[in-house]
């Protein structure tokens, strides 16, 4: 079948999975499990955030998905085909940035892209110059294309790595910490680029330790800790999980009368009260969440709680529940901060 000079990747029937793993496991020498029975499902067309502290097995997973390392047990399918068996068919449709960019320092930015493109069996050498130029423009490196890569800043190297992933129209982009080393402006540009690619129908698998970044661009997310998958689903569902168990999330009251506020709130069933300067935070009682609990007490209305505070003479500057951020989700699920796993 002759291939038309299409610019958009083929859109397979919906419901297919861009990435699917079953019991994917990697044990390194010495028996330590870097990845332990991973069952990951990345829907096509999603922007999938892959979260976890350093050392939680994210990069090992990505390397197994890309056929760079062999799984000890389990299987992985990428774009519907088994990996690494179908590498030759799958990988041309996948753009990847794995553990930061790696470049030939003695080659210019443009020549680096030429080289990576020459390694792609389906890349047409006749359109190479044009595609390389477009990829460079897309990441904002057009002006620096002739400079030796060794003279690039980390941010520029990151951009060049991204450009290499964008040499062809891709069905799946695997981006491991894509905004690493970029300044805030660069981060915004990359996020805009990711959204743009996702809008074109490309599935984006994004690993990051920047939780707000994931929250800003991702539709789905998975959380890993110590080689295991803790949870996965849509970002909205993940936030909801936390909300359900906590009512509306954590109550925050800003007041100069912190001690009084704590007393009043305790009387109304708020638990886990913490005071930091003029901020009082606490857990709302479970029955505060709609639907109403079956308790004898009527569901606690937040406005009533505020009225009670004011009534007791507590001067309230601010009152409200903080929306659960992905960071809250993460901390609750892993029971730890965003630190290196032991």
């Amino acid at each position: 079948m002759p291939q038309p000079p299409a610019t958009a990747p083929e859109h397979p029937p919906s419901g297919e999975r861009a990435i699917e793993t079953r019991g994917l496991t990697k044990a390194y020498r010495g028996g330590q499990l870097a990845v332990d029975g991973l069952d990951l499902v990345v829907p096509r067309g999603s922007v999938f955030g892959f979260l976890g502290p350093n050392g939680s097995g994210k990069t090992t997973t990505i390397r197994m998905l890309m056929g760079l390392i062999d799984a000890t047990a389990g299987s992985a399918r990428v774009l519907g085909q088994p990996m690494p068996a179908a590498s030759r068919r799958v990988l041309p449709k996948v753009g990847a940035l794995i553990e930061g960019p790696a470049l030939y320092g003695y080659l210019s930015g443009r020549d680096n892209l030429w080289r990576f493109d020459a390694a792609d069996p389906v890349a047409d050498p006749r359109t190479r110059g044009e595609r390389v130029g477009r990829a460079l423009e897309r990441v904002g490196l057009g002006a620096a294309a002739g400079k030796k890569a060794r003279a690039y800043s980390l941010g520029m190297k990151q951009r060049l790595g991204l450009a290499a992933a964008l040499l062809q129209p891709r069905e799946l982009l695997v981006l491991d910490e894509p905004t690493n080393g970029l300044d805030p402006q660069g981060m915004r540009e990359i996020r805009a680029l990711v959204r743009e690619l996702a809008a074109d129908g490309t599935t984006v698998f994004l690993s990051s330790h920047l939780l707000d970044e994931i929250e800003q661009v991702c539709t789905h997310a998975a959380v890993m800790a110590r080689g295991r998958l803790i949870t996965q689903g849509t970002v909205a569902d993940l936030s909801a999980t936390v909300l359900d168990s906590r009512g509306h999330g954590r109550l925050t009251v800003t007041t100069p009368d912190a001690a009084d506020a704590v007393r009043v709130l305790k009387e109304h069933g708020v638990t886990d009260l913490q005071v930091a300067d003029d901020r009082v935070t606490g857990e709302l009682p479970a029955c505060a969440a709609p639907p109403a609990g079956p308790d004898d007490q009527a569901p606690l209305e937040l406005a009533d709680l505020n009225a009670a505070l004011v009534h007791a003479g507590v001067r309230v500057r601010a009152f409200g529940t903080a929306r659960a951020s992905l960071e809250d989700v993460f901390v609750q699920l892993t029971g730890e901060g965003f630190d290196v796993a032991g």
Binding site: R63, V94, A118, A119
Partner: protein, 290 residues
């Protein structure tokens, strides 16, 4: 790829050649490669000047019977002999050392820089990448040898007279035929390096440090060269890759003695097969974690 029509973009049939061209271009644009070639080109110049100074430019002043590299006594009579001398001088160490650098760095250097993972997810294909790396190393063997030969020819032509060539067997051949023999010798020397290139490639697949792979290859080369000179080890010497290297001199006989040359080529082919297979077995199953 039997169901090529099911794949949206088909691999191009000549794609491997494109990858090879990219690899050769990348290798020969590196300053390190050019520096190696410059060193190789410098050896014949040094030898030529040394001979010129030593003999005071008197034709035939070298005399016979002195100890030195092969053919060196003939150089003052015929500049073409500088080609043979230079190849004899560079074959034991300079040439294989530079091959060790290129071959040792081929996979390990990419792994060290991290570019290996991007070539593999491109996807270059492990077997193909290995073949391309080996082919590039062999190209360097040929180019390195030709650089020595051409530099020697130019130096010889500048410093010494050229003319008919007296072969080792005493017969005389024309200068033109002498040039052909020189070319044949250069090819024989390049082929002699096939084995060490395969050894270097195999070592390169074992590590993620280009420097370590280069040093190991060169160290191994020196060890083997030493073993080849210890008389007590004559039982194993026919299996050492440098053992028949100097057999290229047999091309300067009339008729040519093929016995040692054939043994040399057979041995190089054996090394290429054994170490090439080992490199393939290692590289295709290796976890790329760098």
């Amino acid at each position: 790829m039997s169901q090529a029509e099911a794949v949206p973009r088909r691999p191009r049939p000549l794609w491997s050649l494109g990858l090879l061209r990219s690899e050769i271009g990348t290798t020969f644009r590196r300053w390190r490669t050019l520096a190696l070639l410059a060193v190789l080109a410098g050896v014949p110049i040094l030898v030529g000047i040394a001979v010129k100074i030593e003999t005071g430019g008197r034709p035939g002043g070298g005399g016979g019977g002195e100890v030195g590299p092969a053919f060196i006594s003939q150089v003052t009579n015929n500049g073409l002999f500088l080609v043979f001398t230079s190849l004899a001088v560079t074959l034991p160490f300079f040439l294989p050392m530079s091959i060790g650098v290129i071959a040792g760095d081929s996979i390990a250097g990419e792994a060290h820089g991290g570019t290996l993972r991007y070539l593999l997810v491109a996807p270059a294909g492990r077997t193909r990448l290995l073949l391309v790396k080996y082919a590039t190393t062999l190209t360097f063997c040929l180019v390195g040898t030709l650089v020595v030969a051409l530099s020697a020819l130019a130096t010889g032509a500048l410093l010494f007279p050229l003319g008919d060539v007296t072969l080792l067997s005493g017969t005389s051949i024309s200068f033109g035929e002498g040039l052909l023999r020189a070319l044949a010798i250069a090819c024989a020397v390049a082929l002699s390096l096939v084995g060490v290139a395969a050894v270097g490639l195999f070592i390169s697949t074992l590590t993620s440090s280009g420097i370590a792979a280069m040093a190991t290859t060169v160290g191994l080369l020196i060890t083997v060269q030493i073993l080849d000179t210890i008389p007590q080890l004559d039982a194993i010497q026919p299996y050492l890759f440098p053992h028949y290297w100097l057999s290229f001199a047999d091309l300067l006989r009339d008729p040519v003695y093929w016995d040692q040359l054939q043994k040399n080529f057979g041995l190089q082919a054996l090394y290429a097969v054994v170490f090439g297979s080992a490199a393939w077995a290692r590289f295709t199953t290796r976890d790329i974690t760098a």
